[in-house]
Symmetry: C3
Subunit: 672 residues, 3 copies
Amino acid sequence: MIFPRLRNAIAFGGDYNPEQWPESVWQEDVRLMREAGVNLVTVGVFSWARLQPSEKRFEFGWLDRVLDLLAANQIGVCLATATASPPPWLTARYPEVLPVTADGVRLQVGARQNYSPSSRVYRKFASALVTKMARRYARHPALVTWHINNEYACHVPECHGPDSTRAFRAWLKKKYGSLAALNNAWGTAFWSQGYGQWEEIFTPSRAPYHSNPTQCLDFKRFTNDAFLELYDLELAILRRATPDIPVTTNFMGFFKALDYRSWSSRLDYVSWDSYPDPSDESAARRAAAAGHDLMRSLKPDRPFVLMEQAASAVNWRPVNMPKRPGVMRLQSLQAVARGGDGVMFFQWRASRAGAEKYHSGMLQHVAAEDSRVFAEVKALGSELKKLGVVTGSLVRNRVAIAFDWHAWWAVELESKPGRIDYAAWAQQLHAWFYAQNLGVDFVHPSADLSRYELVVAPALYLLNEKDGGNLQSFVERGGTLLATYFSGVVDEMEHAVCGGYPAYLRQALGLWVEEWVPYPEGRSNRFRFGRARADHRCDHWCDLVHLDGAQALAVFTGDYFAGRPAATRHHYGKGAAYYLATRPDAAGLDVLLSQVIKEVRLAPPLRVPAGVEVTVREAADAQFLFLLNHTNEPAKIALGLTRGHDLITGRLLSGTVQLPPCDVQVMRLPLK
Amino acid sequence: MIFPRLRNAIAFGGDYNPEQWPESVWQEDVRLMREAGVNLVTVGVFSWARLQPSEKRFEFGWLDRVLDLLAANQIGVCLATATASPPPWLTARYPEVLPVTADGVRLQVGARQNYSPSSRVYRKFASALVTKMARRYARHPALVTWHINNEYACHVPECHGPDSTRAFRAWLKKKYGSLAALNNAWGTAFWSQGYGQWEEIFTPSRAPYHSNPTQCLDFKRFTNDAFLELYDLELAILRRATPDIPVTTNFMGFFKALDYRSWSSRLDYVSWDSYPDPSDESAARRAAAAGHDLMRSLKPDRPFVLMEQAASAVNWRPVNMPKRPGVMRLQSLQAVARGGDGVMFFQWRASRAGAEKYHSGMLQHVAAEDSRVFAEVKALGSELKKLGVVTGSLVRNRVAIAFDWHAWWAVELESKPGRIDYAAWAQQLHAWFYAQNLGVDFVHPSADLSRYELVVAPALYLLNEKDGGNLQSFVERGGTLLATYFSGVVDEMEHAVCGGYPAYLRQALGLWVEEWVPYPEGRSNRFRFGRARADHRCDHWCDLVHLDGAQALAVFTGDYFAGRPAATRHHYGKGAAYYLATRPDAAGLDVLLSQVIKEVRLAPPLRVPAGVEVTVREAADAQFLFLLNHTNEPAKIALGLTRGHDLITGRLLSGTVQLPPCDVQVMRLPLK
Amino acid sequence: MIFPRLRNAIAFGGDYNPEQWPESVWQEDVRLMREAGVNLVTVGVFSWARLQPSEKRFEFGWLDRVLDLLAANQIGVCLATATASPPPWLTARYPEVLPVTADGVRLQVGARQNYSPSSRVYRKFASALVTKMARRYARHPALVTWHINNEYACHVPECHGPDSTRAFRAWLKKKYGSLAALNNAWGTAFWSQGYGQWEEIFTPSRAPYHSNPTQCLDFKRFTNDAFLELYDLELAILRRATPDIPVTTNFMGFFKALDYRSWSSRLDYVSWDSYPDPSDESAARRAAAAGHDLMRSLKPDRPFVLMEQAASAVNWRPVNMPKRPGVMRLQSLQAVARGGDGVMFFQWRASRAGAEKYHSGMLQHVAAEDSRVFAEVKALGSELKKLGVVTGSLVRNRVAIAFDWHAWWAVELESKPGRIDYAAWAQQLHAWFYAQNLGVDFVHPSADLSRYELVVAPALYLLNEKDGGNLQSFVERGGTLLATYFSGVVDEMEHAVCGGYPAYLRQALGLWVEEWVPYPEGRSNRFRFGRARADHRCDHWCDLVHLDGAQALAVFTGDYFAGRPAATRHHYGKGAAYYLATRPDAAGLDVLLSQVIKEVRLAPPLRVPAGVEVTVREAADAQFLFLLNHTNEPAKIALGLTRGHDLITGRLLSGTVQLPPCDVQVMRLPLK
């Protein structure tokens, strides 16, 4: 149970910013929250300027009143530390707090998150504020959980100001110990970059040409750590004040700037903000599913919380379509189905002013009683109450995708053979499993893989010897590995590993790669499986593979490397290792993955029509089976021996059931 | 009569920059001007560096000689104040004069208009120069009119330098009185932006994310006012010296940076620069017509002057096609037809050097006697002499488009549901009326609307209660209003008006809008009128409308809001209010507008074939009927009972006349 | 012979950067170099930081060991002066060395070439380093040639920092003598730009609008000269130390920033870096051929050296395809066929670290014995040994393309009638001759043209009176000239020449141009030759031509100038002058150029199938005939009376020979 104070209820609510409204509105807010079944609201995210209107003055009275009002109405509070946006007085007086771009532009106040993660002044003032808040509200009855800062690194994924330069040097000194070690790691013998003093080192701001890639990679690592230091700073203060209150910060799914895996041990539970684009509902459900899986995998033994989603449209895309009726409910229950114990929104009441007034709220600009959106919110709140029984149950999968932020950072640096969109490629592979209703976790290549049958490693470009060894051992002990092109090319210093890629996977894969052939947009190659009669198209990339024990499952049939392997399989120890040397078309990918799945004997919980999502959450005494129909047609589902009551409607489900369009059924299946 | 000193002649000439040529060329200039019928030339626009070659030195001798020469040849002078481009010595010595971009880049000398509108130093030196010029030339016989500065805000639509920051704060202080009022207007409770001191406020320079929209809107208002202060500064000096000489500055049509309506009372007559793209002649004539109508509407009781146009090609588009033979003449007479009393060019003689040498001149690089362009210029000059009788006559229309710069600024700020090109949408609606030869004015929503039968309000996003009331009263008293999607969403603070849009038009329209569905490029919806059998396509945007008294004329037939209103009509008081909830295809728009026009019984002055433009100018004792054939085919026109002599050819026109391709006829119709 | 110390061998090798590898690798390097037939390696290009690790400390020991090892193995050294990338200590201590963009961004260390060409500090330190190197290695037995700096102006084509501003002023003072002359040349009477003090002048950094074009043109000239000063500075030092060692710097073909023609007299031989895109092999061979021809033409009486090419893929395009098997060899021998006496690569061993590790090397990341690329390198090395006999022989052509960097700079400045890609248009015309195997030189319009039959002048926009006269004299004396649209428009000050373009070619061409009609992308016109029945398409540009003695060969058939000349011919003196007023389609260009060629009686050395390249190199006693089959099909070639042994295979070639796909034959034909 991640929120002891909510007992066994799914958290339901959203960001609540009462400071944007006259106090007269607050009573209506609370009345409507109760009407909608809201049990948790996030308060204070952007309240710094209100709480501390000038350097010496603090004003907590209004927040006291808000929290008291919520407590009086049995609505819990997810209390944000308000450090996400420093107030104007702070940056006007201490402009060194403002972040600086790679071009040297100091970003001004007027939006949000206008601080450098390495600013000493920012850290001092943020600590002081959090200390005051922690002391004041430690024992407030409304306090359910802490929400540190907000969407760290969003909009400001890096800073090149003087404080950042200084901190980057200190970080490097700590990491490398000596300039000799740094010069070796960065390969500064190339292009006359040898450093003789730490003070000669700068952040990789704008340069005449490609900046040093290891410097860039270290700068991403440093920036991640700089933000993590901010989190740790606040966490320590909160822990001292409230050792028993759970603490989180809201993540953003496939967000490149932060290696969330390095953060997860510091969070009591993972929470994240999911904003799939409503203009493509299929893509949206795939993206949300992948996001939930990635986020859940950060703390696989705890449910996560969907901390933010939009009730309908957002405001920040060039074109912002609203969610069609029913879609918000479906996406909310999808979060629960994939391991979420909370369904929250940004924000409770749509703003009238400011940059996000066209971001939908649970309450819209129209009156609550007139609002389609609020009607759906209320209906959802009432359904979630019936699903409290699933809280605490977990999702357990037998397939993992090896996914590493450092590999992501490295493979997308400039100056590569071709461009790889790392997260998109991982999500493309995830989407195949998602369509089959085969649950997938995302793991670091160094993880304990013993619970998995199959590990998929898409373009694992950066892979050090130890992690490569871990993957090979997994195969040796009986696991199945599927690696793809442009894997195992560099070590953690981003040095190419000589002698044939993918260096530390060669043994398990039984092959080596000599060259890469990246394809320009619009050009493609072809390949064919074993005795198949027809070719498949492939594009983007072809590795030139030499077999060294492996067997070719498919060969290229076009271009200058006709006859060379496109997909291979190799027995290694007790397991098997596949290699996919290109990006195949959908049918070609399906042929390969179907064979892999068949070999490892993986099957979905239920066979269902396309577009129906099936998941299982496991508790000590029962399983929960979720069925979500994402299509606009009713779906017939043969339950076989499975039978039970739908937790939402209460109806008994057995035999072949009909799942209406856009509808959801949840069954509790007691363990025998 | 806007130029008493030109008597009843249409002003004809252009920018004359003799300082670019040796004095030996001046004699030829004047000879050719006379040959071409030139009666007015604009002198001095970019002469500051010549008139004041260093801080302490002024050199007026050459200008004296130019003016004397022109006077001796009966050529009038539109004397520019030369403040549009400060000389290099000024910006080198006082670099704070240079404008600064949102990224902090100080723009260097070497182009033109290199000054910040808020620069105190610039203002001081500009005033001194204008004072000297006003004194020196106040009584010069060549002086016909003053031309203040040039195309204000062109290329430098805003400045973020220290002087601008200081002036912005002062402007805000004056507007809001207190920080509490400012904080409320800007909605600074959102994103922790509350200001505690005026010095904490900056111009909206580059920020991490969307800047505060009301701050951005106020910055546009401030910048408009800063430029207007510059104009007022010069105007006051000129008025003191020459109370009787008319004063103008050249506007630029649909130019976003300046709310020309706030300027118009300060100008003795409106003048503007029209540069439609010759590569699309149909679009060019529509764009020019809309521009003339907008500019004329700024001072509806005075003719305007076309202060600049190109004799053939310009130089500043990526590809600059010349005007085909005849097109320059047609566009010149179009200006007169739509209310212009002057046809001027940039520039008299094409430069040999500098950035605009490929901008065509009345004289080209080839010799005058060899030049197609100059031949057409001469022919035009001779025709215009015959049209002097139309000077002073006015255009009177019964249709108005509500057009507001503040709405334009607001609706195109970032972070909206979708992107709206406000001026394009207004011009698209204007184009329908233009094609029907129904004259249109552009009015502010607060204007006295009593002279109009129909007011069209396209995407009037920002509309305060008072102006909404004005539009509703117009309907109540018997007028017809057509409003479109995304109107009436925010008030003057850019705060969303809650409770159903378009807030202050709901009563008249008899409906309210709950949601917007903006469409990505390439996606569309369909709708159908009443009992029609076929659908129309619509795209870009669909409002989700709830009827509240209005009747649906058309409903959407596709997407998730099938059956909801796409176009409506509502009886209100003595009038009617239409609402168009989407952007229909051309045929769909035609169905709707034809119905509206029929209802208000509007008809063009004559029924003519497509591509023939018809306008009427009204004098005390006569009407002038203009017929312009924009097509490449002869047009047959049935004059009916109308008959009279063509002012150009002198021929009697009656019955059915034939108008040759690209040709023009102008008839004087005495009032009975 | 350009390398006396290599005797009669073709230089073969590449950039060798041993400082990137432990010394233990060096022995293997040298062993594999010998195995591959390497006789020259370029050392030290990016070694500054290694050679001078801090301001006061120099470390030459490692370089001594490298040179000794190479000398001991009979491998010559092309010794780079290491000044191309200043070390971090230098720019950290003297940040004024760093280049500054037009936006004022100071480019940071971390890439390469991070210096302003006008930096006084850079010049001081570079001189000191070169002085030390020259003294130390002047008599080293490995030293074959000096390689000054590297790819001057690459990545930093201009600098706007304070040193550059100061130097620009000094350069202008020297060029113009007086501000009056400068003001006249720059046309500062336009837009109020008159300069009263030299200190008022700045580099053309970012301005509100189009900067002064003559200022921009002078800035390009100045920047070229600033880089050339750097070269001269080093050259003087090297000459003093080693008067007999040849000196070069590596050029980059059609590289806009530097007028290589102004450099060529200072180089003992021309060397250049050729990186055609492997993703389009046809375009690649055309681009490489044009590059070789341009570079060879800079010093027509000496062979050139291909100083850098890639063994396979590069790393800096968005997508970097490898070279297919055989292509590297073909491109290498193409360089020899077109006049090259050296075939060098960047680099010997692909890096493991840094920004260029995915740039292929002669040695790849895989082991030498496993590497397709290294196998091809070795085979090439062995073939080149057999071709030593061609060294010193020269290419002599009878066609020239007039190509001028100043015209290039000028025609591509902003604010033109349309956009012209000068180098692309020149290369498009070159490609026609290349496809016919008609050798072409590139010459300056002021060159001695007496050795040519035909001069082609594509878009020679800037052409002063003297050079125009030179071209006209060429025709008068019997030569044939083909000029194209937008030629002869401005003089060297970029002032339009009045009275009909192309001013200084009008007499020879017998016509004048009144107007230009540039076409937007996707729009086109048509034209027809004499009595032909069908039209050709043309696009991009049409001149409006008046005949003045010339005869129209083709006329436009579409648009408003139907009937006007599209291509003309004029007898002038003993020669003929053609004019092409548009950009025709391929077939139309072929008709015109075929007629021109027929008239001047030019023919290729041999008639061969399409895709076979034929060239001739001439020595005192023999000719060398090169046949290169760029297609994937065998080519049958009728040698006629020509017979001789293939220098590569030793086979006797006579009658009709078969040239395999991707293969090359070289015959020595003794002069009778």
